[in-house]
Subunit: 367 residues, 2 copies
């Protein structure tokens, strides 16, 4: 029963735990029993359940990193970016349409898009498949995940038809994973604490939304779906983001390893090195290649080190997931991402022991 989910979400970002231990009390929150009892966080705000402190820290962090423009955008908070994805679908679906709007994404796409789009058999939206081959008339929504889950590549929209809306899932557009090449300014951008800071258990995400009516309808969705978003987790997320901004603001003068993104980038680089080394030595697999690019945040050229490895079984093996499972390595088949079963997705964000074990087992296959 459980292992299925464990596979699907083995992007559990526990690798950042040691950093947060090192931060000690700086990221601790204390909430007395009488605080935050009301449904409401900010009665005058369009998104009335958004904690003002969290909103402030979101804007501050984006400004510091330079990865997304928050000016002229509304912030809508969600119970993770999964809820925000559904809020976007609801907000973009014409309520009076006779047919559901198609939701598409370029293959290989995040495996949750199809299931989360279709599990309620909504009359408002439905999964439309691979964006590369999409060519229908009428309204559609294109999910652009950049860097992409599962394969880590930077992406642009691929559908070029009228009547479409692009939604940018930027969960991994942070300096520990990829060079920050531009300060993006899309109409609809999704982010999540899970991947940016490693706090998956808080279930907090945020959307930057240019259009007021869309932000209103997203807010309405979250009102109907869960009557707002946990205040406790928002307060915690605010503290976590503040700790990151504080830790990186004075990078020039302080210890680099004190800055979360530097720490994360270093760790990801080391893991990718270990994985590439194992793959090279085994001779049975291949990995995507990434070119370095200038990271405006770091001020130097950096190489992408994605949160997932999109591993391919070379040679005879057709079902890479089963093959690896027989060697006690749990991965997720490419099939779930609309791709060939010769591919699997492997998490790069697990705890150190788990990652080491994975690399060891990969190496042992060849021996």
């Amino acid at each position: 029963m459980f292992s299925n989910f464990k596979c699907e979400h083995s992007g559990d970002p526990t690798m950042f735990e040691p950093f947060w231990r090192k931060m000690g009390d700086r990221s601790t929150i204390v909430i007395p029993g009488w605080q935050s009892m009301s449904y409401f966080s900010d009665i005058g705000n369009l998104c009335w359940f958004l904690e003002p402190d969290f909103a402030k820290e979101i804007r501050r962090l984006h400004k510091l990193v330079g990865n997304a423009i928050t000016e002229d955008h509304y912030i809508v908070v969600g119970t993770g970016s999964t809820q925000l994805f559904q809020a976007v679908l609801y907000a973009l679906s014409p309520p009076d349409a006779t047919d559901p709007v198609d939701v598409v994404s370029a293959m290989p796409y995040y495996s949750s898009y199809p299931s989360v789009t279709d599990y309620l058999k909504s009359g408002l939206y439905r999964w439309g498949g691979d964006a590369h081959t999409y060519n229908k008339e009428g309204a559609y929504i294109e999910m652009v995940t950049s860097p992409n889950n599962p394969d880590g590549h930077a992406r642009e929209s691929v559908v070029n038809l009228g009547g479409g809306t692009r939604v940018y899932d930027l969960a991994y557009y942070w300096p520990q994973y990829t060079p920050i090449t531009s300060n993006v300014d899309h109409d609809l951008m999704l982010f999540t604490v899970s991947k940016s800071t490693g706090h998956a258990g808080t279930r907090i995400g945020w959307a930057l939304v240019k259009d007021k009516e869309i932000a209103k309808r997203m807010t309405k969705f979250i009102e109907l779906n869960t009557i707002g978003v946990s205040k406790d987790s928002q307060l915690r997320a605010a503290k976590i983001l503040r700790t990151i901004s504080d830790s990186c603001e004075h990078m020039a003068t302080s210890d680099h390893s004190e800055c979360f993104f530097e720490y994360g980038r270093f760790l990801m680089a080391r893991r990718w090195e270990q994985l590439r080394d194992a793959v090279r030595r085994s001779g049975m697999f291949s990995l995507p290649e990434f070119l370095p690019d200038f990271c405006k945040y770091a001020g130097v050229a950096t190489t992408p080190h994605p949160a997932f490895a999109w591993l391919k079984c070379e040679g005879e093996v057709q079902d890479c997931e089963s093959f690896l499972r027989s060697h006690k390595i749990l991965t997720r088949s490419g099939m779930h991402f609309g791709a060939d079963p010769k591919y699997v997705r492997v998490s790069m964000l697990d705890r150190n022991d788990t990652f080491k074990l994975f690399v060891e087992r990969l190496l042992s296959i060849n021996s």
Copy 2:
């Protein structure tokens, strides 16, 4: 934009704030930055995102109060009982059915049932209206809210057809609102921290579910909807429930006002007395009447003091909501509950100042 929601949810249970202030540090939580980072709470549990401490405190509190049997029930945690309501609809809908299953509830019913059932135009379920007049063939789901929102009456199921499943929404089945006449043992029961303790901002609810497959499907819904439930809020809810159990466990020997339910019952009784007095003096309204019953928890006969007053405009006034709004009293029209607009729902759980103002304004109408 905002006032609409404010009216819909003016069940904001802020009246319990003073109690939690009095509890001081006893209900404070402290969460260090490195804690609860993972998606997972209890990897061996069917509901893998349920915090074990919260589950323990749920069972302890139900046992202490004697309002619901937790033995032989799975606990599924949700982002408020609104999410659990949807999880139930998903779990009870046959995935291969050609027609959506009907969701019904006896009039006057909780106004969110129709909107939350229908907002995604799901092919799995749809709002079927007043349970009193429901007489279709086939599968249906009956929501039994007891005590009822909006009118406060204890309820039993009213549909008596084959193929139906009853879901008990017991959000208000706590000693501060109603006599606990029996330790109920239904297959599907919903509870929420919002109404039991006053912590609406945590967005935490729980379901007690007898059938394993239904509990699994509810868990699956929450996985697809929000990939689990905020750990921070679950940890907080655990502490809050623990404080209540601690405060009431030794009632015989300690100060009664230290026990949350005694405190709440006293406050509710006083408010209802003030409201009934105002209604009597005005001569323009009426309220439902409730008979006392033996409360097994309190060990004495107690009178229901519902969280909402189901107020009726007597005489000429047809649209009670508009009439009261013209006297600066915000209520929610009976129409939203499937009832006559001569009725309105008024929150009894607001902060003291707001409640006092409401009673004063009600009295001033007559003068």
